[in-house]
């Protein structure tokens, strides 16, 4: 070795260490906090508070738009955990959205359960279904996993569609929201703005905490190389199933809230494959495998879509699609990842970037 090496027995000494108690670790963590390593948390908190404050001066249209932005922030963060960090691109993630929505609707409509009691059940149903299909499906890799999850979502929609006595089937389902019939009073626009803001913030917070944890590193390791990950002691099956379940929990939570907001909906509404497609596009365009990527992707694309709808009329979908194509060509690794790498290496050339990531 060229460097000054530790003496013989160095290996054993290096691996020796003292154990820290929980309190000791917390104290060490607090001591290690500086503005430089906490600004992201502070920025998140500031944005959350600004969003709360702005609600007071917002017109109803903007409020509605931002409510749907928050919905997609939560969905994109949810998808990113299994699709981005863990590297298992689920093309059926909408199944958890639909299950969450129907759990809330069925409980509130058929059994007069309050919204607050229905939501945890909806999340549990999403998690249970993720574990049930995740254990067999997460053995598949790449395209096979994508196709299998797509199949699971389509199949689940048909099951809900045919369970007419419980779900109302193709006739749809309605949540009683007014009068003595309502298990929980309707939130109204301001209430749902707040609720979706909290769900989105919760999703971002979960992603931020996970990504910095041992579990977060394990997800990245599984993504990069499962054999190597298993070789260093990572239970790859457990990591994949837990990541899928966390992702499902976030999506099911958003679905449950969406159901209450919509009041009345059909299986084709909440099992709409477009939701999955949007989750994937938002994460890929924003930058997968980071917390900021899905956030930027969801906010950017939802605002862009709205802008085009208002200003372009007939051709807005065409232009929206064209913009997505152009962004993917120039930023194959996602906008956030491009700017992070460009800032680090001081290379801002888009053409070089395209060449580097040419498939």
């Amino acid at each position: 070795m060229t460097t000054a090496a530790p003496n013989a027995g160095g290996a054993a000494a290096i691996l020796e260490r003292h154990r820290h108690g929980r309190q000791e670790r917390l104290a060490a963590w607090l001591r290690s906090r500086t503005l430089a390593n906490s600004w992201q948390w502070l920025a998140g908190l500031v944005i959350f508070i600004v969003m709360l404050g702005l609600q007071q001066v917002m017109d109803p249209g903007t409020q509605r738009l931002l409510t749907s932005v928050f919905l997609f922030v939560a969905l994109a963060q949810g998808w990113n955990i299994i699709g981005g960090y863990t590297g298992y691109a689920s093309f059926g993630q909408v199944v958890f959205f639909g299950l969450g929505a129907y759990t809330v609707a069925v409980l509130m409509n058929n059994y007069h359960v309050s919204f607050w009691a229905s939501m945890p059940v909806a999340i549990l149903v999403g998690v249970a279904f993720a574990v049930a299909i995740g254990i067999p499906l997460l053995r598949l890799r790449g395209h096979y996993f994508a196709i299998a999850t797509l199949g699971a979502a389509e199949g689940s929609r048909e099951v809900i569609n045919n369970m007419t006595p419980v779900t109302g089937g193709g006739l749809g389902i309605t949540i009683p929201t007014f009068g003595a019939q309502a298990p929980t009073a309707y939130f109204g626009k301001p209430g749902f703005y707040l609720a979706f803001l909290i769900v989105a913030a919760g999703a971002v917070l979960i992603a931020a905490v996970l990504s910095r944890s041992r579990f977060g590193y394990a997800m990245v390791a599984v993504h990069q190389d499962e054999d190597a990950a298993a070789g260093v002691g990572i239970n790859t099956t457990r990591v994949k199933v837990v990541a899928f379940a966390v992702s499902a929990a976030i999506v099911a939570c958003a679905g449950g809230l969406y159901a209450f907001q919509q009041i009345e909906f059909y299986p084709t509404d909440v099992f709409d494959a477009n939701f999955t497609v949007l989750m994937v596009i938002m994460v890929v365009i924003g930058g997968s495998g980071s917390v900021l990527g899905p956030l930027v992707g969801a906010v950017g694309l939802e605002l862009l879509a709205q802008f085009l709808r208002v200003n372009l009329g007939t051709y807005n979908q065409l232009i929206f699609g064209a913009i997505i194509v152009v962004v993917v060509v120039f930023f194959p690794q996602g906008v956030v990842n491009f700017f992070r790498d460009a800032w680090r290496t001081r290379q801002f050339s888009l053409l070089d970037n395209v060449r580097r990531y040419r498939l």
Binding site: T2, T3, P6, A11, R17, Q224, D227, G231, V232
Partner: protein, 256 residues
């Protein structure tokens, strides 16, 4: 080096009649051997002899067709790789497998977070990683991406990742292939130091020079079976080993 087998402690790794069949091909057939605690066992053999298959069977990356693997007397045959890693068996891969998208330091820290007796926090694991990078001599590359590393440094990273799992038994798969002379010397010295630190080591290697200087005991695999076994110099003088490596004609010319 003199044979240390007699002096070595009780068997930490014992392989009994291990076989692996891929379709109609026996990659490994009825292989048995044991490694004493604190020993360095060298496994050599021509391409396709079954060396990497053997390692994959021991670490659970492949399941044996028949036979047993015991670590410290405990039967681990067919267990999942992470279970075996928690039993303090670590390995490197012949084709290096860094976790891209993470720094060199984080790559090593993942081993420290998940191996046997893991660090309980990311911070502790990163500190362990820093110490290991010094040990293998790539601490100046801690913040680099694995893709920026030279062949020799990538191999050192593999070794550091395995060491971070706090192994008692380390399986090293061709860690010296493609290295220059100086780099091989450094790797040999490092492996000796690891053994002196209390780790039992199995080295699979192509490079003859390295095997002779490194091993207490050598096992020669050929067509999936054990061709010869013993102290390095004796084994390398064995007529059958010379034939297997260099062909019949060379062996005839050399022998009187």
């Amino acid at each position: 080096m003199i044979a240390r087998q007699a002096a070595a402690g009780p068997a930490i790794l014992e392989v009994r009649n291990l076989s692996k069949r891929f379709g109609g091909l026996w990659a490994l057939r009825e292989v048995s051997f044991s490694v004493g605690e604190g020993q360095i066992l060298g496994i050599i053999g021509p391409n396709g002899a079954g060396k990497s298959t053997l390692i994959n069977l021991i670490t659970g990356h492949l399941r044996p067709t028949s036979g047993e693997v015991l670590v410290d007397g405990k039967d681990i045959t067919g267990a999942r790789p992470w279970v075996i890693a928690h039993d303090r068996v670590a390995r490197t891969f012949q084709i290096v497998k860094p976790f891209r998208g993470l720094t060199v330091r984080e790559n090593v820290a993942i081993g420290a977070m998940n191996g046997s007796d893991p660090d309980s926090s990311v911070g502790d694991a990163l500190a362990t990683a820093d110490r290991l990078l010094v040990l293998v001599g790539i601490e100046h590359l801690a913040d680099a991406a694995p893709s920026q590393l030279s062949v020799a440094d990538a191999r050192r990273l593999e070794l550091a990742k395995a060491l971070a799992c706090r192994p008692r038994l380390l399986l090293v798969d061709e860690v010296m292939a493609g290295l220059r002379h100086q780099e091989i010397d450094a790797a040999v010295e490092l492996i000796h130091r690891l053994r002196d630190g209390g780790i039992t080591i199995v080295v699979v290697e192509h490079v003859m020079k390295a095997i002779v200087s490194i091993s207490d005991h050598v096992l020669v695999l050929h067509h999936g079976t054990v061709l010869a076994e013993g102290p390095p110099r004796e084994v390398l003088a064995d007529q059958r080993v010379v034939e297997a490596y260099l062909g019949h004609r060379y062996a005839r010319r050399r022998s009187p």
